[in-house]
Amino acid sequence: MSDISKLTELRKLMLDMEHAMGLQELSTVERDVYYAASDCTNASDSVRTNRIREHAIVASMSRPTFFRALKSLVGKGYLEQSGSASRGRYLVKAPK
């Protein structure tokens, strides 16, 4: 596991703590999409939407629900659309 993914794991754990304490700002669906994106990404690489869609956590999610959650996560600053020419790529934002 890379250093960035350790930070991501800590971040996921803190999200679960927020959820347990009723302080969460993400719905369960958004959290699952975020977890899936975190698992699919490597260091500073972006991840394709299709790869996130194939992740086991979100595999049973309907397409509209998945894309709504993806859009919401970008709006909330958890994911960032990759600056490259290719659309459908996202960066998982890690604490700096």
């Binding site: 596991m1 800590l10 754990l13 803190m14 679960d16 347990a20």
Partner: protein, 185 residues
């Protein structure tokens, strides 16, 4: 090897910072509120949180990563006496027990280590943190020959140390998120 050195530096620095807060900030307040408690038993022992979270993230590598920090804290209080048998038992308990408990829980079918596709459960980490605290404090207090009152003080300190460290990190991550500028779509 380089990766292990980076992990040891980071984990030990966090351990030293958490120990500084526990002994230089929390302890004076605690001593004025509970003068009857034994000096070293902090009721908010943040280093326990560092031990638990590093063992969760790094597994056995956390034992090596924690060793410099734990030894430095023991040496600060005991000087060369850190190498006395009872203190070495306490040092070994501090660095080995956290990872051992996580591996033991994995052996009995409760695998909590981070893994692709697995949702981390904060409550489970707290429960394992409590078990680590019980085992560590029993071993340490047996080595030191402390009174039962201090067992309870260590358990309370470890539990609240892990809880408040998680709480501090949770709010730190929230603050970082709120500082992030959302992308315009």
């Amino acid at each position: 090897m380089k990766k292990l050195a980076v992990e040891a530096t980071a984990v030990s620095l966090f351990y030293l910072a958490a120990s500084f807060i526990a002994f230089a900030v929390v302890m004076p307040v605690q001593q004025s509120l509970f003068p009857g408690l034994e000096n070293r038993a902090s009721l908010l022992f943040l280093p326990h949180g560092v031990k638990v979270l590093s063992a969760w993230l790094l597994g056995w590598r956390s034992s090596i990563a924690l060793l410099p920090g734990v030894l430095a804290v023991f040496a600060y209080f005991a000087g060369w006496g850190v190498f006395a048998p009872h203190r070495m038992i306490a040092v070994l308990a501090a660095v080995l027990v956290p990872a051992a408990v996580f591996y033991l829980s994995k052996r009995i079918g409760w695998d909590l280590f981070p893994k692709v596709g697995r949702r981390p459960r904060w409550a489970s980490i707290m429960i394992v943190g409590l078990v680590i605290s019980v085992v560590s404090s029993v071993l340490s207090n047996l080595a030191y020959g402390n009174s039962p009152q201090n067992y309870i003080a260590y358990l309370i300190g470890d539990f609240f140390g892990l809880f408040f460290l998680c709480l501090i990190m949770m709010f730190a991550f929230r603050a970082l998120r709120s500082m992030a500028v959302p992308t315009d779509r």
